[in-house]
Symmetry: C2
Subunit: 354 residues, 2 copies
């Protein structure tokens, strides 16, 4: 069958069997493996004549919480839902196999939005970033050198406006973004505490990532007390990845002119009704600023970001934990694990080695 | 009796019978008239030799929501509770009768923190503001030219960072601060809607204060729907005096990069447990900034504020609604009315005419 296809499609180039992760249907809860199916189809590896597209071979795919949101039928103009019957989309690192676009040529390494598949056609390659620095792991472009990196950098340096010596709390601190926020804060001379969902993660925060302290929120029946224990002087900056109960407890512990940077609220995404946050009066009493942000607003500053972070990686001043799952067929499980807190560090799927 | 006292105290000057509003006990709910008692005592109208104090005759006393908070036994270092058995304190306009302080002399008009009494001794007169402009009503120094004025000015211009043409929503819009925020926003070319708690207030907002629209929150069983009706394009700036349910509904209607300036949350002050606010995820989705502020941080900019607002008053570009209760004996009822929304505009007690 493949041979036949190869012959038939000869005029547009080699045709490859292409494994894809397909969304079966819209979801209303956190994603389950059964919401996706891995299928094979075929794809020509040549760009169609006259097209600006590029054909890529995917190397790494990033598992991100926003992908769960895109599996919902979402009516918000800021989000596009995935399409049932089509492959999921996410951030990936890929190699250009063929290009109809002047800026890209065969062999270029890129990162950006790609399909969850082994090979794919990127119709708007101008949205891809070319990878110029390959002395660092390529997978880093899904993490510390990609969206989670810009997110942590923008949220901490641009939104939180940190000062040396401030008290910083990070939730989901062993995750793709949290681990970087904590390390940025330490580099700035802040006192940093993280929360995470397992003993193992807490050990990693304290022993590998340089956090001053950390706690397992699942073992704390009184989050307010846990925060008071870790921050007897109160919190200047809370980098919120979680929302809900932990945000409510943080509000009781903010210092005057404190800032709460809201990056995400993963605890709230799949509740039938979001939890009520009761301690907002502290916003007035303590003159607190709560500010949400999205990374796309900071993507134009990507090269400036690289100038800061690449040297930190090369000089060993910052480390990045990755949780790499091998094989596209295991991608659904890897994505689902994200919503159970199974991953330690940035969850990535290795699709193919370069 | 008064004659006798006058003779005995002759060496330190004239002694006057002094009516005072005394806090009877700490409270846990909104203030009631029975939490206060009006008593008379006597006071020498001469400053004691060697003292820096000034003796004042109070002309106007301001009723402010924060006074209810100070009637609670409050453990927060930012607040001092009133003392049971002593007069309440608040902002007032007063005339200096005698002064031990170089900066003040007999006949000066001042505003600042005074006791709830007819005559009083101000031990730290350096915290009083001298009134230099008397071509405007003196009562204005409890309102548009005093703390509510600086509050509205700072909250709107400094915290909300408004732009021409933006959509502005103000709660408690007929109150001391809200009416000014709405007028500042109109002067800036914004579209302004206010909420208030009676039909009469809504009419005043629309017909006297120049709001584009207004609604009675007590008649809206669906606040989200009311906001969608008034703001089909969404809200850029919400000036929050109320908190709770209306804040929650506003969060569903914020525009991208919207700002919520939290001035107060009067709906929450006396609840056994504050209401839960459920729609905070919109902070991320819409990149919303929520920021609390307190007026004391902006008091150093008072003269700059006067330069802006005095001309607006003189040129008739801004109006200020006052609700004036006559007589110190009626002050407890006036203060209590504030928490029932009885006042229309700034609630003031006229203690004495100059």
């Amino acid at each position: 069958m493949l041979q036949q296809q190869k012959i038939i499609m000869a005029s547009v180039g080699e045709v490859m069997i292409n494994k894809q992760v397909i969304l079966k249907h819209f979801i209303n809860t956190a994603p389950k493996e059964s919401d996706m199916v891995v299928k094979t189809s075929s794809l020509s590896l040549k760009v169609e004549p006259g097209s600006n597209a590029v054909v890529v071979k995917n190397l790494y795919l990033s598992c991100d919480p926003f992908m769960g949101s895109r599996m919902k039928k979402f009516e918000n103009p800021d989000f596009n839902s995935f399409i049932p019957g089509s492959p999921l989309e996410g951030i990936g690192v890929a190699k250009v196999l063929d290009s109809g676009h002047l800026d890209f040529k065969k062999g270029n390494l890129v990162w950006g939005t790609v399909g969850w598949e082994e090979y794919g056609v990127v119709e708007n390659p101008e949205n891809l970033f070319k990878i110029h620095h390959t002395d660092v792991p390529l997978s880093y472009y899904t993490g510390i050198l990609g969206m989670p990196g810009i997110t942590a950098w923008a949220g901490f340096y641009k939104v939180a406006a940190p000062k040396k010596g401030e008290y910083v709390f990070v939730s989901a601190a062993a995750g793709a973004v949290g681990q970087l926020v904590g390390q940025f804060a330490k580099l700035m001379g802040c006192y940093v505490v993280g929360s995470a969902g397992s003993k193992e993660k807490v050990e990693i925060l304290k022993n590998k990532l340089g956090f001053d302290d950390a706690f397992n929120y699942k073992e704390e029946h009184d989050l307010d007390a846990a925060l008071k224990r870790c921050f007897p002087e109160g919190i200047d900056i809370y980098f919120d990845n979680v929302g809900g109960k932990i945000l409510d407890a943080v509000l009781l512990n903010m210092r005057i002119k404190g800032r709460i940077v809201v990056c995400g609220m993963i605890s709230q995404y799949y509740l039938r009704q979001p939890e009520g946050v009761r301690n907002l009066l502290n916003i007035v009493i303590k003159r607190v600023r709560i500010e949400g942000f999205v990374v796309v607003d900071y993507v134009p500053q990507y090269s400036k970001f690289l100038e800061v972070v690449l040297p930190l990686i090369r000089e060993g001043k910052i480390v990045y934990l990755e949780d790499i799952t091998e094989g596209l067929e295991n991608a659904p499980a890897a994505l689902v694990g994200l919503f159970n807190g199974r991953n330690i560090g940035k969850q990535i799927v290795l699709v193919a080695r370069e």
